[in-house]
């Protein structure tokens, strides 16, 4: 009984650790392929960048406005009203929207929309043996397929973060207006608490989210097997793994940022 339970736990754990190890190796190969000449991935980079931009801009716009209006907007406003401190909503938006919600919603939308498309595309190519054919024709799939997606998702996710912050703050403005508040105090507390550290921290974190999404989604696509069903399974696993990796990394990054920049702990 104990042995059977141990065996059941051992195999999935070993597989997971193997996958994480393989993804680390893929990350290393991707970075070294990106830096080492030749650089044949320019065209594919532009095409993947525009592809992610086209797919994600609208879902991201709706998601950030709605979640920032609902969560730090309406919910926090209800709470602050008790203390007659609705003017503090701007400061709260720095903590909520700039540091956490903006990057997280960006990562969720990019992983869910562009990341899954990447997994499905590479997975379909894998099961049709296109990736094998590329390798046999002397084309390195890491350099030609993974590197451009890796760079494109990093750049697009970093830029989308700024876009998400702008529309997230717009959600906060709606919340203020719904509560019949003037916008002056909102801007005042927002800029009093916002710092350049918040901005670069948010953009850097989101850029790394883009790298994580690209590696997980490319890896899952390139290791898909078992026909159409296998591709579907790969997409599902890619989303689950990407979200888990992103939120785990968020904890590590936030803890490190707060520890190394204690001034941003002070709420003004």
């Amino acid at each position: 009984m104990v042995r059977s339970v141990a065996e059941r736990a051992y195999l999935p754990t070993r597989n997971l650790l193997e996958e994480i190890g393989d993804m680390m190796i893929l990350t290393g190969r991707t970075i070294s392929s990106a830096l080492r000449p030749p650089y044949p991935y320019g065209g594919e980079f532009v095409s993947q960048f525009l592809f992610a931009l086209r797919l994600c801009w609208f879902p991201l716009l709706i998601s950030t406005v709605c979640i920032c209006y609902a969560a730090p907007g309406l919910q926090a406003a209800n709470f602050l009203t008790i203390f007659g401190a609705l003017d503090r909503l701007g400061g709260f938006f720095v903590l909520g929207a700039v540091r956490e919600i903006g990057p997280s919603v960006t990562a969720i939308v990019v992983a869910g929309v562009a990341g899954t498309a990447i997994t499905a595309d590479l997975g379909a190519r894998k099961v049709r043996e296109e990736l094998d054919a590329l390798q046999v024709l002397g084309v390195d799939p890491v350099k030609n397929l993974v590197v451009p997606r890796f760079l494109a998702l990093m750049v697009v996710t970093g830029l989308f973060d700024i876009y998400a912050l702008l529309f997230g703050i717009f959600g906060g403005i709606i919340a203020e207006l719904v509560n019949s508040q003037p916008l002056g105090p909102f801007w005042n507390t927002l800029f009093a608490n916002a710092s350049t550290t918040d901005l670069w921290g948010s953009v850097l974190k989101t850029t790394i989210y883009g790298a994580i999404i690209a590696i997980v989604c490319c890896y899952k696509g390139m290791s898909a097997s078992g026909g159409a069903e296998g591709v579907g399974r790969a997409v599902n696993e890619a989303v689950v793994l990407a979200f888990t990796a992103i939120f785990s990394f968020d904890y590590v990054f936030t803890q490190t940022l707060l520890a190394t920049h204690p001034q941003i702990l002070v709420i003004k």
Partner: protein, 279 residues
């Protein structure tokens, strides 16, 4: 490759391999590809179990065997898409598992591979698919490339379809297009993974004729994986019969067709009675 003495099974006492004499009859050409005691498993599924096989230079070799015996896995080992768990795969004197990535990519320029479903690139039309290896590996101008591509496409009867995308083609057309792409660089080693599957008997016969013609023209080591005995009779110069991840018998085609081994005899005559059942 060492020649095993006929009648002396190398795996005596292993009940799973009663018909595996492992006999490798000498061939008139030197070996282009060698498998040396190759083992390969996928999880608990042991696909290759001590495979020793040699495929001669300048001949059309066929690897024959029932489904699921590891024939396609062999091709992936030859081009370095899979590595053996144990043993070695040697191509033109290079040990494939020991090559560095850059050297392996270089060596792969010697190969042409026809995959089971053609493996055409979905984002390119037929013409660009066939032109891809020429653009990737040669300095030829577009005019010269067009001449070669059109010739190859007309050889496989697809000259009218060169603007079509792979998803607009039937399975047989995709296979023929993959064939044209595999041969476009006139490679030293050409590997065909079940070129006859999904083709009607007439097109299978024509494809076999084309393989023979192109081989007579260019030479090199051609390896065809199939379980179609008619195709084997048409084109094979050398045959290796594979079962349960090991060679049953291997040698010149005419000697294999006259083999006394009950498994080889049953398989090459396509009879239902014999040691090979449905299991």
């Amino acid at each position: 490759m060492a020649v095993t003495e006929p009648g002396k099974p190398p795996h005596e006492g292993e009940e799973e391999f009663p018909f595996h004499s492992g006999e490798i009859r000498p061939s008139s050409s030197p070996d282009a590809i060698e498998f040396v005691d190759v083992h390969k498993s996928f999880g608990r599924n042991h696909v290759l179990r001590g495979l020793n096989m040699a495929l001669p230079e300048d001949q059309i070799s066929m690897i024959l065997g029932p489904s699921g015996t590891g024939k396609s896995v062999c091709i992936k080992h030859i081009v370095g898409l899979l590595y053996p768990d144990e043993g070695d795969v040697i191509v033109h004197g290079h040990s494939i598992p020991s090559l560095r990535d850059a050297d392996l990519f270089d060596l792969r320029k010697k190969f042409g591979v026809l995959f089971q479903d053609g493996a055409l690139f979905g984002s390119m039309n037929l013409y660009d698919n066939v032109a891809f290896p020429l653009r990737q590996h040669t300095e030829k101008g577009e005019e010269e490339i067009a001449e070669i591509v059109n010739l190859r496409l007309s050889e496989v009867g697809l000259s009218a379809a060169n603007e079509k995308m792979p998803n607009e083609l039937s399975g047989g057309m995709r296979k023929r297009a993959g064939f044209a792409r595999a041969l476009v660089l006139e490679p030293d080693i050409v590997l065909f993974d079940e070129p006859d599957s999904g083709l009607d008997p007439v097109r299978t016969a024509l494809l076999c004729e084309l393989i023979k013609e192109v081989h007579a023209e260019n030479g090199g080591c051609y390896v065809v994986i199939t379980h179609d005995i008619m195709s084997a009779r048409r084109v094979a110069e050398h045959i290796s019969v594979l079962w349960k991840g090991r060679i049953v018998e291997s040698g010149p085609a005419e000697e294999l067709f006259a083999s006394e081994n009950p498994f080889v005899r049953q398989f090459l005559s396509g009879e239902s009675a014999g040691p090979l059942g449905m299991e």
